[in-house]
């Protein structure tokens, strides 16, 4: 800071900052979590992105300028980003009671973790880019682009469409009052009026796992709640407070235990294609992301089929 310090090389800081900032901004599309939606939400996220990118990009410059105090302070500032997760979580949890089809705790945690991780990623991209830009600034620009692409690849988890097959299914009633979507029993609907609404306006889809990972994802309650929420937010749901039996349900084929799940909904917009696309785009939640379940029941049936 005094006159004795060498002239500061701004290039790595600027290149690193831009790379970190872009990597954070790229993900700031509200599609899947419906947050941020308002300008105020965007501004707080953009502000965090600027701070994260600045911290990441200035550490190397501070270290090279032998400003160790500054570097230590920057790492201290980085710890502040841990709060993002809880802020995000409490925002979404407060909405939960006012959404007709809630997201569920598992989905909320997933969104919160992603937002937190995004800021740290922006920091890391800025850090790595400024390290390369310290060497040759043009190489830093290229490295920045590569780091952003790698970050995007690492952060985007699989969608449900990769693991699960979604097919339209008939909504019907068996034994008088039991609501079925295809082969899957959903619930008992006692009111004749509600049954009529399901018959006339209800849509049903059957979700069949393509592989053991899809099977594990569907058995996860949080995952199915996320599916129900995304389905309801895509096509809408004709339900209000005081109509509990007309809500969106996503249930497993239960006494059968085949690993299939089904979803019934009374949509506002009767568009089966849109519903299926929305379900396919549901992110696979972290809790069920890597687990696999081989449904032995199905395997036995398949064997019997091939033998017979």
């Amino acid at each position: 800071m005094s006159a004795s310090t060498p002239p500061i090389n701004w290039a790595p800081m600027i290149v690193g900052f831009l790379a970190g900032f872009v990597s954070r901004i790229l993900y700031l599309k509200s599609g899947r979590s419906h947050y941020p939606g308002y300008p105020s939400g965007y501004i707080s996220q953009v502000a965090m992105a600027i701070i994260a990118a600045m911290i990441g990009s200035s550490i190397i410059v501070a270290l090279i300028g032998k400003q160790f105090t500054a570097a230590t302070f920057l790492t201290l500032a980085a710890t502040q980003f841990r709060d993002i997760r809880s802020t995000e979580r409490s925002t979404l949890e407060q909405e939960e009671k006012l959404i007709l089809v809630p997201r569920g705790a598992g989905y909320i945690e997933g969104i919160a973790i992603t937002y937190e991780a995004r800021n740290f990623l922006a920091m890391l991209v800025a850090l790595a880019t400024s390290l390369v830009a310290e060497w040759i600034w043009l190489a830093g620009v290229i490295a920045g682009i590569i780091f952003i692409v790698i970050g995007e690849k690492l952060m985007s988890g699989p969608n449900l469409g990769k693991l699960v097959d979604v097919q339209p299914a008939e909504v019907k009633f068996e034994k008088g009052t039991l609501l079925y979507a295809g082969p899957v029993m959903m619930m008992e609907v006692g009111l004749a009026d509600s049954r009529e609404r399901y018959r006339k306006e209800g849509l049903g889809v059957v979700l069949t796992p393509k592989n053991p990972r899809g099977e594990a994802a569907l058995w996860n309650v949080a995952q199915r709640q996320a599916i129900a929420h995304e389905a309801a937010s895509a096509v809408g749901v004709q339900k209000d407070v005081g109509y509990p039996e007309q809500g969106t349900l996503c249930r497993m084929a239960m006494p059968a235990g085949t690993g299939q799940a089904a979803l019934t909904i009374i949509p506002v917009e009767r568009d089966m294609e849109k519903l299926i696309q929305a379900i396919k785009k549901v992110p696979v939640l972290e809790s069920g992301k890597w687990s696999r379940m081989h449904n032995t029941k199905n395997r036995q049936e398949q064997k019997e089929e091939t033998h017979g």
Partner: protein, 65 residues
């Protein structure tokens, strides 16, 4: 919904008095026929945010979760 709620029986509406005894847990409404039973069931469930379940023996129960 993610954590399965525990439903509480809120009321019983029947058109067959033989299938229920008043156990003190929920009020029992007696209806002369099934049409009247369904009407009363719908009325009460809309007011109280309850779900109607048919027991297929002449009685419907209302549960609140």
């Amino acid at each position: 919904m993610a954590d399965a709620p525990t439903p509480k029986m809120f009321a019983i509406i029947t058109c067959d008095k033989n299938v229920v005894t008043s156990g003190g847990m929920a009020p029992v409404f007696v209806a002369p026929n099934e049409i009247e039973r369904d009407r009363v069931a719908m009325w009460i469930c809309r007011i109280t945010n309850a779900t109607v379940h048919d027991l297929h023996n002449g009685a419907v129960i209302l549960t609140v979760s």
